[in-house]
């Protein structure tokens, strides 16, 4: 039997699917979620969605300043990856980071209060939307310089390797950052030293306003590690099951000492690059089609109902709980005082 030349060790399992092509299809190779998993994914993705919608509202009200990059549409990526990872695995990402923090279990009040620049924010109001961290939850930021987190995330993996602690670094970046030079410097060292890092490339099709095809000579990001012999896989990033599946394989690859792994998550952001972006570079129809046909949350919801794993009432209850968490966070972030002026001078050096 003829076999196509393997592009990677994981070739047999790779699914070169685009979200548009995988609409509504059931993949037989996909490991189905059980009821608890479906509900967990649903609840967490919904929490991120509602949180981000609220953040967008609060930005509009002037409560949140500066840059604010929303994760709406991409929820399945971080939620699926977190379902595949273990407690001590680290997460690091760029500036579109609110979803990652919530998925890591960081407090919604703390995240929202950081967005509003209040003393109860996770960085005491001194970091803002792009700069939050949690040692306890193994979340290493929150980085504002495109691509910077890729070297840093490789460094987290270096530390795991140095300590022999068997943890894996989940290093997230976008299709824009994937063109940065330091990404390839990091790929080289990660493979050379067999560092346990999963590079999760969230390809949401636009680097700010530039479509992937206008900025990337090789738009198949799963192949971006080819010169370094890093295996890669394209994943339907709108399907949380596909993400968890691929994530599990990639993490296992890293944890078993084989070095880094690249996952290209084909996803989509519904909102503009940041709150100030009217997104004129794409059509309303394109966005609407994504929402209608590929929404990661709707997919889970439909499965839960279709498979009779939950009733409309069950889901309403989850919705209500999520809304309550978000409302509480917004309330806290609105009324928590600003940092004490003395905070200006603290935490500069230890």
């Amino acid at each position: 039997m003829a076999v196509a030349p393997a592009k990677s060790a994981a070739n047999a399992k790779s699914r070169a699917t685009k979200p548009a092509a995988s609409a509504g299809k059931q993949s037989n190779s996909l490991k189905e979620f059980n009821r608890d998993e479906e509900l967990e994914a649903y609840r967490m993705m919904l929490l991120i969605r509602r949180f981000e919608e609220k953040a967008g509202q609060m930005y509009g009200m002037g409560l949140i300043g500066g840059f604010c990059h929303l994760y709406i549409g991409q929820e399945a990526v971080v939620v699926g990856m977190q379902m595949a990872s273990r407690e001590n695995d680290q997460v690091i990402t760029g500036y579109r980071d609110h979803g990652h923090m919530l998925a890591c279990g960081m407090d919604a009040r703390g995240v929202m209060a950081e967005l509003t620049g209040r003393r109860g924010g996770l960085s005491k109001g001194k970091g803002g939307s792009m700069h939050m961290f949690s040692k306890e939850k193994h979340f290493y930021g929150g980085h504002g310089i495109v691509g910077g987190q890729v070297s840093l995330g490789t460094g987290l993996a270096f530390a795991n390797h140095y300590r022999g602690n068997n943890s894996v670094s989940m290093t997230y970046f976008g299709d824009g950052a994937a063109n940065q030079g330091q990404v390839y410097e990091s790929f080289n060292m990660a493979e050379l030293w067999k560092l346990p890092v999963v590079y999760v490339i969230e390809n949401n099709r636009y680097a700010m306003g530039t479509a992937v095809t206008r900025a990337s000579a090789q738009a198949d990001f799963s192949k971006r590690g080819a010169s370094f012999n890093i295996p890669g896989e394209q994943v339907d990033g709108m399907d949380v099951r596909a993400v968890r599946d691929a994530g599990s394989r990639a993490i296992e690859w890293c944890r078993s000492g084989k070095g880094p792994f690249i996952l290209e998550m084909q996803t989509y952001r519904y909102r503009g690059h940041s709150m100030s972006d009217p997104a004129k570079y794409r059509s309303k129809e394109e966005v609407q089609k994504m929402r209608d046909e590929h929404d990661p949350i709707e997919q889970v919801r439909a499965r839960l109902l279709r498979n009779k794993l939950a009733t409309e009432d069950d889901l309403k209850q989850i919705d209500a709980k999520v809304r309550a968490v978000v409302a509480d966070a917004a309330e806290f972030a609105t009324h928590d005082p600003e940092p004490d002026p003395s905070e200006l001078w603290t935490d500069i050096v230890r």
Binding site: K135, I145, E185, N188, I348
Partner: protein, 453 residues
């Protein structure tokens, strides 16, 4: 015609070396490419090849001779039947200077300490041992690596090559490849990896082959290392040392000759150290490795081979943020640091002959800057000259001058003068390079000017 074989230079800053061994003897016929001898410096061993055909008719410098100056004739090669004594005279081959020579040479002076480091740093009666700055740095790293398994060193050529400037000599042998890590030539990437590792609590020492190459990594030094503690509201720090040679070396041109002292010293969240004596290099590097903050540790290639006394103590550290009064004087204060000290010391000796008594302050740490020691001195002398190799605009001298104006205006009797590198990219030509750097003549003139002499 007979040809002199000259003692070669192994590096831009080498001035002398040891003629370790002749591999040919007088009377041997040699051809181009034959290895004639081995020479050694404190950082490398190299073979001298014949560049011409002929007979090695005379060996002028025997095996085992130390301190042979670069360009000294070491042997004569003659053509068949020619008399060795017909060799050209052993004339120096240095180019004729076309610019007025500076008042005194600044080449490789031994480090002279005529004031001991502050008493608190060294207990009375401590034995001293003379060592090079290079050895002091190596010892500092080795001691800290023995003390703490989280300390490791990474950079280009730090392991198998033993350091591009031999600063990490022997560390691979003692600590192994896990903790002494050769990197690819990718500063941006490996600096980021080290910062990421430091965020988890490891304590990397990142060696940049020179700080010129750290420009590729400056985003991680500033945006990732220096700001994280603040941006995380104090949760996540970055205990890391970025070290390597900084500033002008010798004849390496504009891209390899730049002083970054002022650049890094402007950044809140960084500490910046730039020592001069071997003792300070050792004690401050140990402190930098233990410091919970990112420290930029600026060394100087020209100082690497210079020796001075280091206290023989099991655990000698020098606190970051404290200047050192190197020479006590009453007439004028020189504020300087790192290789600037070599100019200050020579100028002070010149000025002493003319009855001007100079106080020299070695800042040692540029951030946090020990303004108190500077101000105390200036209140006494009423006069100040700053000396640095870096550029004038927004330089360390500019900062020191401003702080004096803010804090001791009523005590100064003359405007502060800055002596700096000239406001030009570093030229290659020997005479122009010399002109681009500070010189003793201009420092002496500045000291006299502020003393109204």
């Amino acid at each position: 015609m007979a040809t002199n074989i000259l003692m070669p230079a192994l590096s831009p800053t080498m001035e002398q070396g040891k003629l370790a061994k002749w591999l040919k003897k007088e009377g041997d016929r040699v051809k181009s490419g034959d290895i004639l001898a081995e020479i050694e410096t404190d950082k490398a061993t190299m073979e001298v090849e014949a560049v011409d055909e002929g007979i090695l008719s005379k060996i002028l410098v025997p095996d085992g001779t130390d301190n042979v100056a670069v360009n000294t004739p070491i042997a004569v090669i003659t053509a068949d039947g020619e008399d060795a004594n017909a060799a050209p005279a052993a004339a120096p081959v240095a180019p004729v200077a076309v610019a007025p020579a500076p008042a005194a040479s600044v080449s490789a002076p031994a480090i002279v300490t005529n004031a001991a480091p502050a008493e608190s740093e060294i207990p009375a009666g401590t034995a001293m041992v003379s060592m090079t700055v290079r050895e002091a740095l190596r010892d500092a790293m080795a001691e800290e690596m023995r003390r703490d398994g989280d300390v490791f060193v990474m950079g280009e050529e730090v392991a198998e090559y033993q350091g591009a400037y031999k600063v990490t000599q022997g560390l691979l042998q003692e600590f192994g490849a896990k903790r002494v890590i050769d990197t690819p030539i990718t500063e941006h990437g490996f600096a980021g990896i080290a910062v990421g590792a430091a965020m988890t609590g490891l304590r990397p020492i990142v060696e940049f082959m020179t700080f010129n190459f750290a420009m590729q990594a400056i985003d991680h030094i500033i945006n990732s290392a220096a700001k994280t503690l603040y941006m995380s509201g104090g949760q996540m720090g970055c205990p890391i040392v970025f070290r390597g040679p900084n500033g002008a070396a010798a004849r390496v041109g504009a891209q390899h000759s730049q002083d970054y002292s002022a650049w890094y010293s402007q950044i809140p969240g960084l500490k910046v150290v730039a020592p001069y004596t071997a003792a300070d290099f050792k004690g401050l590097l140990k402190s930098a490795i233990r410091d919970p903050n990112p420290v930029v540790f600026l060394e100087n290639e020209i100082l690497y081979g210079q020796s001075s006394d280091v206290p023989k103590l099991d655990d000698f550290t020098v606190p970051i943020g404290k200047a050192r009064v190197h020479r006590v004087g009453k007439d004028v204060t020189f504020v300087t640091f790192a290789i600037g000290m070599t100019y200050a010391i020579k100028a002070a000796a010149e000025l002493e002959k003319e009855g001007i008594d100079v106080e020299i302050i070695d800042l040692r740490t540029l951030r946090p800057m020990d303004t108190e020691t500077v101000i105390r001195s200036v209140m006494k002398t009423g006069r100040c000259v700053t000396i640095e190799e870096g550029w004038p605009q927004n330089g360390i001298g500019a900062e020191v001058g401003m702080r004096i104006m803010e804090q001791a205006f009523d005590y100064i009797d003359a405007p502060v003068i800055r002596i700096t590198g000239k406001d030009v990219p570093m030229p290659y030509a020997a005479n122009l390079e010399k002109l681009a750097l500070p010189n003793i003549g201009e420092i002496v003139a500045a000291a006299k000017a502020v003393c109204y002499r």
